[in-house]
């Protein structure tokens, strides 16, 4: 449980972080809730940790038709953010409140989790269903990537070398919408065996995404059909069970989101 030898640099600015990340095998450290255990188990062995924890980037702001979540906002901050207190954005707070335990929620960050891209993590389903965009920054400048284009494979995203997530931008759903996140968790890890985020708009159109069942979170076609979605099982939860669970959580997320639509009226 002792990490292999590594260097540590606490970044003073994004530019400083980019410079430090130029070193081969350097990795950015945000809240450390996934990376530090991996270091201790020596599953991850970076030569340098670039700690971006002091860069701020943790504001949660509601500006007109957009919710902007700084990459270093913690789950705890998100779970209690007044900005999310609306039926349309309820899925975001609901997801954040269900992450890990209190300690994890107080340290773990939104950007760190999205960049880590664990195939069973919860937030990817929510950002997909709400059609969020990720703001990325690198020495070459800034770009914005749709959540649907961000998650590629387990632990693999659209992030380039020396590129960092700086914010998640969620379009505020039209008034009269409701959203929800529902998951069934592994009893040990708390990670989703299957998790679904649903957005139901006032015109009854829906947007549903699923996580935990395959190699990455995916946005489902209108109506939330799971046909053709890649899923795999494991020793604890066989594929047959996961397929069944996926239909259950999709149904429950849609139901709860619909209730929130009705509650909003």
């Amino acid at each position: 449980m002792i990490p292999a030898t590594l260097d540590y640099h606490r970044a003073t600015s994004l530019e400083d972080a980019f410079e430090a990340l130029a070193e081969p095998d350097a990795r950015a450290l945000a809240g450390g809730q996934s990376l530090l255990p991996m270091l201790k188990l020596r599953v991850a062995r970076p030569s340098l940790l670039v700690d971006i924890g002091g860069l701020g980037l943790d504001a949660i702001e509601l500006t007109g038709d957009e919710l902007r979540i700084g990459a270093l906002a913690t789950w705890g901050a998100l779970a209690s953010a007044i900005e999310l207190d609306s039926p349309g954005l309820a899925a975001v707070a609901e997801c954040a409140a269900g992450i890990g335990d209190l300690q994890v929620r107080n340290r773990g960050t939104v950007g760190g989790s999205l960049a880590h891209a664990d195939p069973a993590s919860d937030l990817p389903a929510v950002v997909l269903a709400l059609d969020a965009r990720l703001e990325l920054r690198s020495p070459d400048g800034e770009r914005s990537v749709a959540a649907a284009d961000f998650f590629r494979m387990p632990y693999t995203t659209a992030l380039e070398e020396r590129e960092l997530i700086v914010a998640v931008v969620v379009p505020v759903p039209p008034s009269g919408s409701g959203s929800a996140y529902v998951s069934v968790e592994h009893p040990a890890s708390g990670y989703a065996l299957a998790g679904a985020a649903a957005l139901v708009r006032s015109d009854a159109t829906t947007s549903v995404a699923i996580t935990g069942v395959g190699g990455r979170a995916v946005l489902l076609p209108e109506g939330g059909s799971l046909d053709g979605v890649e899923m795999y099982g494991d020793r604890f939860a066989p594929e047959e069970y996961k397929r069944h669970l996926a239909t259950v959580v999709v149904g429950r997320a849609l139901e709860r989101a619909t209730q929130r639509v009705e509650g909003a009226r």
Binding site: M1, T5, P187, A188, A237, Y241, H244, V248
Partner: protein, 758 residues
């Protein structure tokens, strides 16, 4: 005021909650070296060579030790005699080499530089396959004792007068047969007969403090081992035997224990002792959680085929059990003996045929875990009793009460049961309001009942009680303070001597200085060492009265000890304080013997404890998830010396039973590699998953116990899994035959039962 039955905080609690307790991994030792273990990634292999040159060349590395480097004198394949694998690796996670370095980080770095060259052998992972004739052996190299006859054994089984020989593989190390009467005729005479095959996995003790030990040599050459263990003398004896040392050259100091539950018996000590003897430097080995999962000794997996019958009136008739116990690499002992005894439960049967098989595989080394062999047995028999009650339309309490053993009934062991509170516990639990709710529950909810017992252990023990010049009492024993036993000693000594519990301290001595006590385990400490403490306090009290008699010029028979004073009975103004007597005694020229007593005990009669549970669950029919809504445990504790501690044991046992029921499984892949070796994959019950647990203390005094008390630590875990299983049956209509009852398994059972009905 009597101290017996008064709730008091644990004496070790303030230090533990403020971080003042020094555990075995905390002490500073001059010149300490740190050891790390290279664990086998293969379950079964022959070692061809170990390359340690690169590791030895690393700065700060002092040694890379393999089996041949340890000055072992004993042969054998047990973990004390073979702390590092010799020629043959027999489970994944087995320690193969030990890197010893100036720092723990250096040792961990160097571990990656050691490589093992192995020749793979067949990994024996499936215990049922392992016992069938012709199965490959899980351990091919046999020690002297076992010899070639391990190749194949035959279990001679006498069944109904006809000799029947069962052919088994050499992996079957032990067979137990407990037979009485004619089970075939008993089933013939039954109105209902039910049977089933029940499977339980390997389960981890999950103590908070991973295993840790430190060893050093005194200038005189005495080997000192400071360790997290349940028993100091048993560890000393094992080390002396393993390394061929005289007993007085080994001193074992049991440090405050950070949890053990049966798992801490001489696993780390032979490693640090061997390294210290080889290097003549102090060495500490402190397992990481990941290592502790892989390299220690969890509860064994078990397969139980069980068949039971009953008549319409509820009389239990016959019981047949075939219980296959996966010992892993443990050639020394297994739970096949105890589990085949306990599968009969606290009930009378007209005929029985109970068989236990201890089978070696390439999965871990089996070790004890709170009531070893009992939860697995109770899961099977209590599940089938539940089915019998359904078939015969009997109340589950009535069925059990009708057959409950009472004192004098002859048990499976052939001996009569001593005082046992089966009936009292069941009657008390039946009165709990939860039971009355069972027929008016919302959909998908159910309440289950199960009962079980633990026979309790015995071992001679002694204690010393000393009065200091301030009038306080110091009780010295060598019993490791596990589950609050030392706090129980405070109550016993205060009551027996006649002082306030605040004036009693308990010291845990080591093997050099302490009176004898066996290991803490088997639910025997309060019953045996507690009795010794009682007698030591009484002996000290006699000395006190003699001394007071001299001072007051009153016969000792006319004196009593009240509130720290010795008084004349009926004339309380004629008194002298305990403090005054002690001061007059413990001084130059004093005239009385020191106010000290020695007490011993050799309990012969066991003190079984019965515990019964009600569990209330909700099953999500769509996901198979089980939510525990409420749990009640009633237990015969003999006498609750300190009800707060007793209730703590009852809740803790029930909670660990809930872990067995719903969460815990050490699983291996087909190559014998552990796939649930961390708390990310191995679930234990956490606070939000455990409901309110009601405790009902039932007191049926143990005739030989101190103030009627008995050991109570193990009984409350025994029937908890079965109670949850019976609740799941009531809630969802499915009979689960495998633990843990995970959501995917319950969903699969629900799906297949729906298919059958369709």
């Amino acid at each position: 005021m009597s101290q017996i039955g008064t709730a008091r905080p644990r004496i070790d609690a303030p230090d533990k909650v403020t971080g003042a307790t020094r555990f075995a991994g905390d002490g500073h030792v001059l010149g300490l070296l740190h050891a790390r273990l290279l664990l086998s990634t293969e379950a079964h292999a022959r070692i061809r060579g170990i390359d340690r040159d690169a590791a030895l060349a690393a700065p700060g590395v002092v040694a890379v030790l393999v089996a041949a480097d340890l000055p072992l004198e004993s042969a054998g394949g047990d973990r004390t005699s073979e702390p590092l694998a010799r020629e043959e690796i027999v489970f994944a996670g087995q320690p193969v080499a030990m890197v010893v370095a100036e720092s723990a980080a250096t040792a961990e770095d160097a571990l990656e530089l050691v490589s093992i060259d192995t020749e793979p052998l067949d990994a024996i992972v499936d215990v049922e396959h392992a016992m069938s004739p012709g199965a490959a052996l899980a351990r091919t190299a046999t020690d002297d004792e076992a010899g070639d006859d391990l190749e194949s054994i035959h279990a001679g089984v006498d069944k109904g007068g006809a000799d029947e020989e069962e052919e088994l593989s050499g992996n079957v190390l032990d067979t137990i047969t407990r037979q009485e009467g004619d089970t075939a005729a008993a089933f013939e005479s039954s109105d209902a007969v039910v049977e089933g095959t029940f499977r339980t996995p390997w389960v981890y003790q999950a103590y908070i403090e991973p295993q840790v030990a430190t060893a050093w040599l005194e200038p005189s050459g005495t080997l000192v081992v400071s360790t997290s263990t349940q028993g100091s003398f048993v560890t000393r004896n094992a080390l002396a035997r393993a390394f061929g040392l005289q007993l007085d050259r080994v001193r074992v100091v049991a440090e405050p224990l950070g949890g053990a539950f049966g798992g801490k018996f001489a696993l780390m000590e032979p490693l640090v002792a061997g390294a210290t003897l080889a290097l003549e430097r102090p060495v500490r080995l402190s397992l990481t959680r990941t290592e502790d999962f892989q390299a220690t000794n969890p509860a064994s997996a078990q397969v139980t085929h069980l068949k039971v019958g009953a008549r319409k009136d509820g009389t239990l008739t016959g019981i047949e059990a075939r219980m296959i116990v996966d010992r892993g690499s443990n050639a020394g002992w297994g739970v096949e003996g105890i589990t085949s005894l306990l599968v009969a439960g606290p009930y009378r049967w007209e005929a029985r045929d109970l068989r236990g098989y201890g089978v070696q595989t390439n999965r871990f080394t089996f070790g004890a875990y709170r009531a070893p062999g009992a939860p697995t047995a109770a899961f099977a028999v209590e599940s089938l009793l539940d089915e019998l009650a359904r078939k015969l339309d009997l109340d589950p309490f009535e069925l059990r009460l009708k057959n409950a053993v009472v004192e004098g009934d002859i048990g499976v062991s052939g001996n009569p049961f001593p005082t046992i509170g089966t009936v009292q516990v069941l009657e008390r639990l039946r009165e709990h309001p939860l039971w009355a709710q069972r027929d008016s529950l919302p959909e998908n909810e159910g309440i289950g009942l199960a009962a079980g017992y633990w026979p309790g252990g015995n071992e001679p023990a002694s204690a010393v009680c000393r009065v200091d010049p301030d009038g306080t009492l110091t009780v010295v024993t060598s019993a490791v303070d596990m589950s609050g036993v030392s706090t129980g000693f405070v109550t016993i000594a205060a009551e027996a001597f006649g002082v306030s519990p605040d004036d009693v301290r308990v010291v845990t001595a080591d093997t050099l200085t302490g009176p004898y006590a066996g290991a803490s385990g088997g639910s025997k400490v309060t019953y045996t060492v507690g009795t010794a403490v009682l007698r030591a306090a009484e002996a000290a009290r006699q000395k006190l009265l003699l001394a007071a008699s001299e001072e007051l010029e009153i016969s000792p028979d006319d004196l009593e000890v009240v509130d720290g004073e010795v008084r004349a009975v009926g004339a309380p103004d004629r008194s002298i304080s305990v403090e005054q007597i002690a001061r007059n005694t413990l001084r130059f020229g004093g005239r009385n013997e020191p106010i000290e007593g020695h007490g011993g005990s050799a309990q012969i009669v066991g003190a079984p404890s019965v515990a019964a549970h009600l569990s209330h669950v909700r099953v999500d029919p769509e996901t198979g998830e089980v939510e525990l809504l409420r749990h009640v445990v009633a237990q015969d504790v003999g006498r609750a010396l300190n009800p707060a501690l007793v209730e703590g044991q009852m809740r803790g046992g029930a909670t660990q039973g809930i872990g067995w029921a719903l969460y815990e499984e050490l699983a291996h892949d087909e190559d014998g590699r552990l796939v649930t070796g961390s708390f990310l994959t191995y679930a234990i019950p956490v606070a939000e998953q455990v409901p309110e647990i009601d405790t009902l203390i039932v007191e049926v005094p143990a005739p030989d116990g101190p103030y009627g008390a008995k050991g109570i630590g193990e009984a409350p875990v025994v029937a908890a899994p079965a109670a949850v299983a019976n609740a799941v049956r009531a809630a969802a209509g499915v009979r689960m035959h495998e633990l843990p009852m995970t959501a995917p398994r319950i969903w699969a059972a629900l799906s297949s039962s729906a298919g059958e009905e369709a």
